[in-house]
């Protein structure tokens, strides 16, 4: 008997509340697209703003409602991206070229930390922007990295640290190219570059060579030697500054060797001394292709069937011949 009353009382309570709630849920319904909620769950939730929208929730809304590409989010794991696209029915649409390019931040300054290149010892708010406000910063070069770590503070992924010479160092494994550091840098020294690319111009000075030379040992003077040595036409000098067109650059390192200021560096190999082509004479059939492609007249020959050889003094190590050789008998060898 007692159990029966319990069952009845609880049951009636339950029924009433269930009914009232379902009534209320109709009456006071606010439409929230379930897709948005699901998308939010799949997003990383770092709220880094790398996508350009206010936080992950804002991005989710944009993705669902405005059809914004999910690739805008630089952080998201590939499987989650797939899930979102599935959720929104996007995977049916053909997007063959949407392979996300994995980029990382690059700091375009390699300035040295010697008194010679300093205006004064900076004391004050430890913030690059603030330093710029005080006599345009403590460095003589007006383009020099302040080295006070505003980019470090801005990075939500702990991917930047200040290294030697007060220059920031980017940990490419951690960097997701969200772009916060780009905005934080008052000198606009940071650029997003493909992680695979290893050859960079570490300078952003547009001053004339003579002026740059006075304030920096390793600044780009716009001499154009790199342009001449590049077999791939991947470097341009404008406003006294060499700039690499990364889509053309193959990372041969010819410019690195040639650069008189050591402004251009090969990231992975600081001790890079350059390469030279060596022809395996036994395999060479004398097809003259290497002779024809070489832009530096560094290949002996030209007569068909005659075995080729490389003139070491002229070869810049661009590797064009090695790439084109049909017999694959040209090897690129590091100089000592």
């Amino acid at each position: 008997m007692q159990i029966l009353t319990a069952v009845l009382v609880l049951g009636i309570l339950g029924f009433v509340f269930g009914a009232v709630l379902s009534f209320a849920s109709k009456k006071f319904e606010v439409k929230v697209d379930p897709k948005i909620e699901q998308t939010i769950e799949l997003l990383p939730g770092a709220n880094c703003g790398g996508c350009g929208y206010p936080g992950c929730a804002g991005f989710a809304e944009a993705v669902v409602n405005k059809g914004v590409a999910t690739t805008l989010c630089p952080v998201m794991a590939a499987e989650n991206r797939k899930k979102i696209e599935e959720l929104l029915g996007l995977n049916k649409i053909d997007k063959p070229d949407m392979k996300p390019v994995v980029k990382a931040a690059l700091v375009k300054c390699n300035g040295l930390d010697t008194d010679e290149y300093k205006k004064f010892e900076y004391m004050g708010v430890p913030n690059c922007q603030a330093a710029v406000l005080l006599q345009n910063g403590p460095w003589l070069c007006p383009h020099r990295c302040m080295g006070l770590g505003s980019c470090v503070a801005a990075c939500p992924f702990d991917a930047i640290k200040i290294g030697p010479h007060h220059l920031p160092e980017v940990d490419e494994d951690k960097c997701v190219a969200c772009g916060k550091c780009v905005l934080a840098c008052p000198k606009q020294l940071i650029e997003m570059v493909d992680k695979e690319k290893t050859v960079h111009v570490k300078c952003n000075s547009t001053d004339r060579g003579a002026e740059t030379r006075k304030v920096c040992k390793v600044g780009c003077i716009g001499c154009g030697l790199c342009v001449k040595v590049c077999a791939y036409d991947a470097i341009k000098v404008a406003d006294n500054l060499a700039r690499i067109e990364y889509e053309k650059c193959v990372g041969c390192g010819a410019c690195v060797v040639k650069c008189p200021q050591k402004t251009i560096i090969m990231e992975t190999r600081p001790d890079f001394k350059g390469r030279v082509a060596v022809i395996d004479e036994e395999a060479c059939i004398g097809c003259t292709i290497c002779f024809k492609v070489c832009k530096f007249s560094a290949v002996n020959g030209g007569t068909p069937k005659e075995k080729h050889s490389i003139i070491p003094g002229k070869c810049v190590g661009c590797g064009l011949c090695a790439e084109k050789c049909p017999k694959k008998c040209i090897k690129m060898i590091d100089k000592a």
Binding site: G14, F17, G18, L21, S22, S25
Partner: protein, 198 residues
Amino acid sequence: MNPIQQLTKGFWKDNPIFVIGLGLCPALAVSSSLSNAVGMGIAATFVLIGSNMMISLLRHLVPSKIRIPVYIVIIATFVTIIDKMIAAYSPALSASLGIFIPLIVVNCIILGRAEAFANKNGVFDSLLDAIGMGIGFTIALCCIAFFRELLGEGKLFGHAMPFFSKDPALIMIMAPGGFIVFGLLIALKRLMASKGGN
């Protein structure tokens, strides 16, 4: 995630109290002695296991609009059962835990696990999760209670400890002591985590 990880994640790494920050009220209110902490831990674990499994079983049946009331009814049932059991078999514990036994109903851990885990996972996983979280809850409670009882009463499980029992700092068994010990413990946990991480 293998079953062992599923079970042990709640012990320390994802400890419901120190890391996730759920179920704080009982953590502070009944942690003034170790025996209370253990009693509360067992009660909560029982409810957690029961409700997690039940909700996991029913997860496909419950209409989402009334899922919260349904969860609560299920949880409340288990809570009432354990409440009555404790009252019947351990009246002293029942007296010292007071209204915090019925308040297990609203312990965020239980509802939180129901909503975040049992709602989405199978029965076995939910069971493991419940046991892990329950043990984690008990561990956290005992950690807090250890310091509070030792410093506040100079005792452990009611047994006087030499040195500490002479002039215990009474504030530790009162509300402020609970807050302070808890705050310092989370900070300590974080310090350890960051040291470990590096």
